[in-house]
Amino acid sequence: MELTDETARTKDIVLDLPDWVGHRAGQHVDVRLTAEDGYQAERSYSIASAPEDGHLVLTVERLDDGEVSPYLVDVLMPGDQLELRGPIGGYFVWEESLGGPLLLIAGGSGIVPLRAMLRHWSAVGSSVPVRLLQSSGSLDDLIYRDELLDGAYAGVDIRVALTREWPDDWRGRRGRIDRELLRELAWPPSERPLAYICGPTAFVEAAAEWLVENGQEPGRIRTERFGPTGT
């Protein structure tokens, strides 16, 4: 097990699991923690790595009032045991056979499963057109910041919206995303894009509604709500 900081509040947990059966981009694992007196807590975390990466990566955002995330980010150390169930999910999964064009929309830590999709897209050399819109409070909060901003995904149209604060020379979107931005960013409905939206529930619901209002097919919009504040 290897642990790396992504942002001040987020950590990558890299796991080498000899018995891992492999997974599909977008799936998650259920992590269960057990205290010495038997008390248990369980939460789902999206897999951040692509199937081709060879090891399993979970990117966990620490929620201040969280039950599981503070443990994973602050306490967990190499050598500790972690109980996982998975990989799980078939609905919020993308692989090349599903085609595109592919529209990925992430709010905060919602980027995690979408990043697995991007890594998979890259690894298989897919020619499906991809656009990513990531909404984050600030550059400091932006998970996978270097990957996303420094061209790790050549050929992917990546837009980042900073909603709370931004550097003076920021040329991306300033402020929250809205219906107009989605209309501008998405392919026209006639191209039938396949959309994956992930993040806090309110963000996902607003984005999904705007896509539908812009004429996109509801059946080609897949969502993964993280709940009120994230994972």
Binding site: I88, T223, R225, F226
Partner: protein, 83 residues
Amino acid sequence: MDALDGNAIAGVLFEHFGEEMTMTRGRCAHCHTASRIGELRVYMRAPGAVARCPVCGKVVMVIVQIRGEPRFDLASIELLHPI
């Protein structure tokens, strides 16, 4: 309380049915619309998990843990062969 998607119960459904269920379509007994399990609106933080039809909002599935054993009530959803 914010809803989650059917993904949130994917793990417990997998353990019960022995297969991945989120792509399976189910017909709501109230409004008769068919949706994928992954599209159901799930309320997890309760004495049980309550899955509601994304179209009419009524309860279609409830999963409770009785003495540590999951119990599934699918009385209001008709599972259809995945298309």
